[in-house]
């Protein structure tokens, strides 16, 4: 097998530590819940450490693909194990690491069927990491499905509200997405005539005709777009988020939805740039509808997690809008927003998780006045909600700013529509904050404890990340730019 | 318009009519009896079309053996008394539609095919000729068919055997 490794295979190490966690947990007996959680924490911490290392070890001045690992696997079909890091996937890898680690810590209090939960959880995250780092179409598809199928048991067993319905809906939606992706990938494979699934080779200009690109792009866009919550294929996401247990919601909204957007970027836009240019108008339309639609529907929700779910729809609309602009800033903003939204949603779900574990309700009407009872837990939520409104100084502001700016430049009317959603999103977030955390304390919950320090760790990490990238956006943007500038400049005119 | 032509049409009408009555009869015994007439008609038609041996076999095997076997079974299990359910609409409507389509298609094909207007001339293949032909050309098939009949007999025996009593001899 011909191999190519540039130094120590850090990317594979991430996958291996995930899989190692998976197998160790499988081997441990069910009763040793404590050990299982520690194994989970250590392995996920290792992935986070590796992701952070990669993020800072990446040579920004050189750019391009780094940490390349390539092994021929099935040469006759041109399938290879091909991982690499660039400016687009490193932020996402970092995000996955953060959300994964904090997700494990958030589920620290889980008591039922701990072993199965963490095993499935690790499997899901393996798929996520694999997808982000893979540069081979075949593996992208495989990882996509690996990350999806544990969702069903995770939601259906450990979920809460209408869990079977939510799990079923989510799984069916996402499988429908993969049913669109697979033919598109095979179509590209066959049409290229190169007998390879290698994205780098397939993305050479002139590989596909304009017609082929248009056809494949729309399939890939819709297929991955379903996972990214593109309007009108978004209804799985609130339902799924509500039903899922908190740690899963975190990964789900924080990372899994990014997979969709990342897939659109990595597969659809990389391979079919002309298709992208052709369909960009449609993308922008759907995205801006999604932005305003998400907040308006969220306005009427009565369940805390539904609210977050719809805000995700809106924020992912911003990502989609950024991807549709065909400008450097739009792409930067989109990738930045992927990262920022991931962290922010993870924080939202994490704090809601804490509150739900104590009060056993997510109905906004039944909560109220929580700020008095648990100021710290409320504080986490409020910070995340502020981030959701795009308050400066918090990470998602920059993503929104860049996206809206370039959207306004490219599509003035749709951009204006999306910008006007800013006001509504404030209304919607503040309404939730007011009803849940302000007002007189509910006597039912007066005796509840605030977040102790040990349980606050994951939330603190997330807040720190939000603030860090809110104040120093260049940390992330410089990284993204190493990928976005060559990509945009390389587009056929 | 020869006598043979008249004969053919008379036979054709007779066959179709009796078959039609047979398949719509609710009483099974009547249906079988009508079908026997249909087969007699077919036998005559075979004779008309120059196959006397086959005509004889038709009468003996079809009208004689097979139909009698039917009657025998029907009477054995007292089937006349059983109410037959009307088939549902979803069942016979497609059947009728397909039938009509099929007939229409057949008619079109028959009339557009080049050789369909070819007039049939009377001729006769004597039983001797047919017998010789069969045993010269198709002796292996004859053997296979005989084997098939044997297998069928054994199979029928096996199926008809009553488990609890250890089996009764079935004709």
């Amino acid at each position: 097998m011909p191999m190519e490794f540039a130094g120590f295979p850090f990317l594979s190490a991430i996958l291996i530590s995930c899989l190692a966690g998976f197998f160790i947990i499988l081997c441990l007996p069910e009763a040793r819940a404590r050990e299982i959680k520690w194994v989970g924490a250590v392995c996920s911490g290792m992935t986070l450490a590796l992701a952070i290392y990669l993020f800072f070890a990446y040579d920004k001045s050189r750019g391009g693909l780094q940490f390349v690992e390539r092994v021929q696997w099935i040469p006759s079909l041109g399938i290879q194990y091909f991982n690499a890091a660039d400016g687009f996937n490193l932020p996402n890898l970092l995000l996955s690491g953060i959300v994964f680690f904090t997700g494990v810590l958030t589920m620290w209090e889980l008591e039922i069927r701990v072993k199965e939960f963490f095993a499935l959880y690790f499997l899901m995250v393996t798929g996520v990491f694999g997808l982000f780092m893979s540069m081979d179409l075949f593996f992208i598809f495989v990882w996509y499905d690996v990350s999806l199928f544990p969702m069903y048991p995770l939601i259906a067993i450990w979920g809460t509200t209408r869990k079977e319905y939510g799990a079923m809906k989510l799984t069916l939606y996402l499988l429908a997405g993969s049913a669109l992706i697979l033919p598109a990938i095979l179509y590209l494979f066959v049409q290229s005539g190169l007998n390879t699934f290698d994205i780098v080779r397939l993305m050479q200009p002139g590989t596909f005709t304009a017609y082929q690109q248009k056809f494949a792009f729309i399939l890939l866009y819709l297929g991955f777009g379903i996972l990214a919550g593109v309007w009108p294929f978004h209804t799985w996401s609130p339902v799924g988020h509500v039903a899922a247990p908190h740690g899963v919601s975190m990964v789900h909204a924080g990372v899994l939805m990014k997979i969709g957007a990342f897939g659109v970027l990595r597969v659809a836009m990389f391979l079919c740039p002309q298709g992208w240019q052709h369909w960009a108008q449609l993308m922008a339309l759907l995205a801006s509808i999604g932005i305003i639609y998400g907040v308006l529907v969220g306005l009427r929700q009565t369940d805390l997690k539904y609210v977050i779910g719809y805000s995700s729809v809106s924020h992912m609309g911003i990502v989609g809008l950024g991807l549709s602009t065909m400008t450097v800033s739009g792409l930067n903003g989109a990738v930045f927003q992927m990262f920022a939204h991931g962290v922010m949603t993870a924080l939202l779900f994490s704090s809601v998780g804490y509150i739900y574990d104590r009060t056993h309700t997510k109905a906004i009407a039944e909560l109220g006045g929580l700020s008095r009872i648990m100021p710290v837990a409320s504080g986490y939520f409020i910070v995340a909600a502020m981030a959701g409104m795009g308050v400066p100084g918090l990470a998602s502001f920059w993503g929104e700013l860049l996206v809206l700016l370039s959207a306004f430049e490219t599509y003035p009317i749709r951009g204006t529509l999306a910008i006007s959603a800013l006001a509504v999103s404030a209304l919607f977030m503040l309404r939730v904050v007011q009803k849940t955390f302000y007002g007189p304390a509910n006597p039912k919950y007066v005796d509840l404890q605030d977040v102790p320090f040990s349980l606050g760790v994951p939330r603190m990490i997330l807040v720190t990340v939000i603030l860090l990238f809110g104040f120093f956006p260049s940390l992330l943007l410089d990284m993204i730019e190493t990928a976005s500038i060559p990509f945009i400049n390389g587009l056929p005119r | 318009m020869t006598l043979y032509t008249c004969l053919f049409y008379v036979l054709a009408v007779a066959i179709v009519t009796t078959t039609g009555i047979a398949i719509t009869q609710r009483n099974l015994v009547h249906a079988v009896i009508y079908l026997v007439f249909s087969f007699f008609g077919s036998a005559l038609l075979f004779y008309l079309l120059g196959a006397p041996l086959l005509a004889a076999l038709e009468v003996i095997v079809y009208a004689g053996a097979i139909m009698v076997l039917f009657l025998f079974i029907i009477m054995m299990v007292k089937m006349e008394s059983i109410e037959e359910r009307m088939p549902p609409l979803g069942q016979w409507l497609p059947a009728v539609l397909c039938g009509i389509l099929y007939l229409a298609l057949g008619a079109v094909v028959v009339y557009t095919a080049p050789g369909s207007e070819f007039p049939l001339q009377t001729a006769m293949a004597t039983p001797v000729e047919l017998g010789k032909y069969l045993f010269q050309r198709h002796w292996l098939s004859i053997e296979i068919v005989s084997l098939l009949l044997l297998v069928a007999i054994i199979g029928a025996l096996h199926l008809g055997k009553r488990k609890e009593t250890g089996g009764t001899e079935e004709p």
Binding site: L296, V297, V328, S329, L404, F408 | -
Partner: protein
């Protein structure tokens, strides 16, 4: 990023001035939440250093030829570059000093006012955040940075207005403030993008230079000016986004003082000052601004005529004074607006702080009740209050007289006399409503047929008396300082005008000084005070205002011209029950419905097909038959 800059003392001072409050915010939030004394000390300490730096900067650059600009790279994305830095010119230096002074005094005052509140650490943290945001806004060199801090100012005022979050009205008011200003911000953001698209960057100095006018067509220029003015409308609570400001008094009184004088609402006018040349290039936008300013000024004055809540009166007066500033600026008199902003900051802070003492002592906001409980017995606050009200009314020789006079002179230069007449009428109303509460508190009438509910007032009075003596002077000193400022600021007009005029701003007119205007102003102010005296002050007065004698008018004013009803209706009916409900239904019925329909269809199809798998021979026969027919068709055609 500050390393090579440290040698520059100016820059160091600017960095210190703006950054220290942020540090104190972070430290308080993260570490000293449970130690109120340390938190307060940290916050005040940071603020005092900021104050010193601000004053140092003002002193250092009292004579400057051209604006100083420092910028460091903050963010680069494609062609968009967002620098972070400082722009120091007379406009920003003066405002920085004003914010620092008032912020510092209010923080001292809060020591007394907030004593005993469980959330005092949080209070000081938010205060620091607020002041940081405002001071950074003031020195922002680009519209981007300004917008960022503009949003942060909105956020921190949201947090402070809703500080007592257990009170429904407080959290509601905070929300309202944030959302209404956000609505304006959306317009401002659009305007900003419009400029960015044509100019390529958002440096304030470049926007103010005539180069921009050359690059944009007049219509686009007007459009972007109007959009940015939308942001000002929201922030400075002008018509039609004015109703959040009166509600914002639900926060602690020092917060209101800060909010109304030098930070939140001042930010809007400050932006106008900042972009004054830019607005000046589009006469249509200027006229529109004049119209909005006048309208808000008059509307707010009428509302102030009838309300009984002392803080609400001052809140309306803020709106009307902001209206004056915007009128002055829109009339082209740049210095008049800036000067009125400065003097207003002093006397409005004073007014609120005085009322704060009264409210703190008597635990009520109602002016009649304050009078009845003996508001006149608090000598220092009442005296200061009178001075401030006099400044508000424009009585000579207080500061408000000079600044308002400047605005009137600017308006007199306009060809259309309508604006001047409106402004003079407003001046009369101002004097009237400023002294109405003063007289009511000073000369209480016993049981004038007002059925007041005396619920738990006596106990609360004891409670407040317990700690008031020690805190009284903590609150008193800032009052006296501010009263002094109110008294003398007017005489600083000439040096300030010289200072502000140093960096040549385009479009500033030479202002004439018609003498009759001065007299008219004095006569109207005195007339307004006199009318208030006639109705509320003299011994046999009924203490019923002339507006209250006309029920319809009274109702209209008390209901704030039904603006709130309109917004309530709009948010509730149109957005919440209209669009939002429609979309929710769409989600449930159409999208989910069709998806569920598909799944149900699949299940039904499966059931249909499963009929064929009943083990029923006839269906198979039928299928064979059908397939045969189809095959026949296929082969023959």
């Amino acid at each position: 990023m500050a390393v090579p800059w440290v040698s520059d003392l100016t820059l160091l001072a600017a960095i210190l001035a703006t950054l220290l409050p942020l540090c104190s915010f972070l430290v308080v939030m993260l570490f000293t939440r449970s130690h109120p004394r340390i938190s307060a000390g940290l916050s005040i300490g940071a603020m005092s250093v900021s104050l010193l730096c601000a004053l140092f900067l003002l002193n250092e650059h009292w004579h400057m030829e051209k604006p100083l600009e420092y910028a460091g790279r903050w963010l680069v994305s494609g062609s968009i570059e967002i620098p972070f830095g400082f722009l120091l010119d007379p406009v920003s230096l003066l405002m920085l000093a004003v914010v620092a002074v008032i912020g510092f005094l209010i923080q001292i005052y809060s020591l007394g006012y907030m004593a005993g509140d469980p959330g005092i650490s949080r209070y000081y943290a938010f205060m620091s955040l607020f002041l940081w945001a405002m001071m950074s806004l003031v020195v922002a060199p680009t519209l981007f940075q300004l917008y960022i801090f503009w949003e942060l100012v909105g956020l921190s005022s949201y947090l402070l207005i809703g500080f007592w979050y257990e009170k429904f009205s407080a959290s509601q008011a905070g929300k309202k403030a944030f959302i209404m200003t956000r609505a304006g911000d959306v317009a401002m953001f659009l305007g900003m993008l419009l400029i960015l698209l044509h100019l390529g960057n958002l440096s304030i100095l470049e926007i103010d230079s005539p180069a921009l006018a050359a690059r944009m067509s007049p219509r686009l220029l007007t459009l972007s000016a109007l959009l940015i003015f939308g942001g000002i409308i929201g922030k400075s609570a002008q018509f039609p986004l004015m109703t959040w400001l009166p509600d914002a008094m639900q926060g602690p009184t020092p917060v209101s003082a800060l909010l109304h004088s030098s930070t939140m609402v001042a930010a809007g006018v400050y932006l106008f000052e900042r972009l004054f040349p830019f607005f000046f290039f589009s006469p249509d936008a200027m006229t529109f601004g004049l119209f909005i300013g006048t309208l808000s000024m008059l509307l707010a004055s009428t509302m102030a005529l009838v309300t009984r809540d002392i803080k609400e009166i001052w809140a309306y007066s803020t709106i009307s004074q902001l209206g004056y500033m915007i009128m002055g600026l829109d009339a082209g008199a740049f210095f008049s607006g800036a000067f009125h902003l400065t003097t207003h900051a002093a006397f409005k802070a004073l007014l609120f702080l005085c009322s704060g003492v009264l409210i703190h002592t008597f635990e009520t906001n109602d002016i009649y009740e304050l009078g009845r409980k003996g508001g006149r017995s608090l000598k220092v606050p009442m005296a200061c209050c009178c001075i401030a009200a006099g400044a508000l009314a424009g009585l000579p020789p207080l500061s408000g007289f000079f600044s308002k006079g400047l605005i009137l002179e600017g308006l007199a230069d306009l060809s259309n006399p309508v604006w001047l007449i409106a402004a003079l009428f407003g001046a009369f109303l101002t004097a009237y409503y400023a002294f109405r509460p003063i007289f009511i508190i000073l000369f209480p009438r016993e049981a004038s047929g007002e059925p007041e509910v005396h619920s738990a007032t006596s106990t609360s009075k004891d409670h407040s008396a317990g700690h008031s003596s020690s805190h009284y002077w903590l609150m008193g000193w800032p009052l006296i300082l501010l009263a002094g400022a109110t008294l003398c600021l007017g005489f600083l007009k000439a040096p300030l005008e010289h200072f502000m005029g140093q960096t040549a701003l385009p479009g500033v007119k030479g202002i004439g000084h018609p003498v009759w205007l001065l007299y008219t102003e004095i006569i109207l102010a005195v007339g307004g005070v006199g009318l208030a005296w006639m109705e509320f002050g003299r011994r046999c007065a009924q203490q019923v205002g002339f507006v209250e004698k006309i029920p319809a008018l009274h109702r209209l004013f008390a209901e704030r011209w039904y603006l709130d009803h309109f917004y309530g209706w709009f948010v509730d009916r149109v957005i919440d029950r209209g669009v939002s409900a429609l979309f929710t239904q769409n989600d449930h019925r159409v999208i989910d419905g069709s998806i569920d329909g598909i799944s149900r269809g699949t299940v039904e199809t499966g059931r249909l097909i499963s009929h064929m798998h009943l083990g029923m021979v006839q269906y198979r026969l039928l299928a064979m038959f059908v397939v045969m027919v189809l095959l026949a068709f296929y082969f023959f055609f």
